[in-house]
Symmetry: C2
DNA sequence: TCTTAAATTTTACAAATGATAAAAAAGGAA
DNA sequence: TTCCTTTTTTATCATTTGTAAAATTTAAGA
């Protein structure tokens, strides 16, 4: 998925606005395991995933919590840094070799104030992330672990293949042992 | 909290942009118990709360799930309707007599395409809602019910007084019995 | 105030989940 | 392949949470 397609999937931009964004972007690649951004730091860029899978996690007291998986077309970023210039609570790690488009936040914000199309792109971007997060919240709050796992498998069948179960369990808000039990049930 | 203050709390607008928004808004009041918007319907407006408390809930198979409380300065709306023109999964009900500012979504979107300041206001609006939702999600996923309840009481002491415990329990993602147990522990 | 209804807490039991340890299976490197 | 490490599953027991029903408290109206 190239940069243009990623932009278009969010909000259709006129050619020249798109060009302005393209000028800001650099392509970067990293090996499996690379830490793209670190919790407790203010992150100055956001990364659109061209290819690969990443996970966001934080190491709270002792335990490691995975709270997001991102793949092709999605954006790896700290919302707290992007939105409020605060340090984020998550680290983001590449789960496989990945290719990313890196975009500097400050430069993007400058464009928001200059180009109404890009401003609307930024609005749409936030809105789409909002919907995703709201759906996650509802799923987390009102569905059982079994239901959440079933939905995850149905919507991201490849994820299960490519990601460790302990991380998926954490993402679902349960222990790895519980997830194993759920999987055993389903057989 | 008047309309100007509500706008300013989101993003500072030039006078004339603010005036354009003010022209779109009508003030409405409803009694306790009024259903402001209904699940499974596409909602054409969003409502800024001038005064009062509301709750969003949905009636899934049999059970009623409360997933949001809103009060002064917050916005009562269906994200799915606002963002994707889809029917929302929530109904919103007034928990007390309330005064609201009603804003038509289509008219607002028209301004987004015409006025860069309003477009950036809309971006900021979505971004702030996104941060709130993300924090809810993290809290739900990685903190115990006891922790969540304690935080809720600390940050919204009045809410506990004004809202039924069954609804608060649902909001926390637990049963009313569990919440009673937690409250008994804390005495 | 008294009466009734609604809301909240408590209790008892069942089901689900967590913690821990150990066994089994899968994957990688020499 | 073989050995070694990592990941996943299984088993056991303790804890938490849910369900249902009863007991208590609170609120509201006559």
């Amino acid at each position: 998925m190239n940069f243009d397609e990623i932009l278009d999937a969010i909000y259709l931009l006129p050619k020249d606005s798109k060009a302005k964004l393209r000028d800001l972007v650099t392509e970067v690649t990293f090996p499996k395991g690379h830490i793209l951004l670190r919790e407790e730091k203010v992150e100055r860029s956001i990364y659109f995933i061209k290819k690969g899978i990443v996970r966001a996690f934080s190491i709270k007291p002792e335990k490691e919590h995975t709270f997001w998986f991102g793949s092709e077309g999605e954006t790896a970023m700290s919302m707290q840094s992007y939105i409020n210039d605060l340090k984020g609570y998550e680290s983001i790690q590449l789960l496989e070799y990945s290719e990313l488009y890196k975009l500097n936040t400050a430069a993007l914000k400058k464009l928001f104030s200059e180009d109404i199309h890009i401003s609307n792109w930024g609005r749409r971007f936030a809105e789409l992330e909002l919907i995703k997060t709201e759906e996650r919240l509802i799923s987390q709050q009102f569905h059982t672990a079994l239901e959440r796992y079933t939905v995850l498998v149905a919507s991201n069948p490849d994820l299960i293949q490519r990601v460790q179960l302990g991380q998926i369990a954490s993402y679902l808000g349960i222990t790895q042992v519980s997830l194993s039990r759920i999987r055993a049930e389903l057989k």
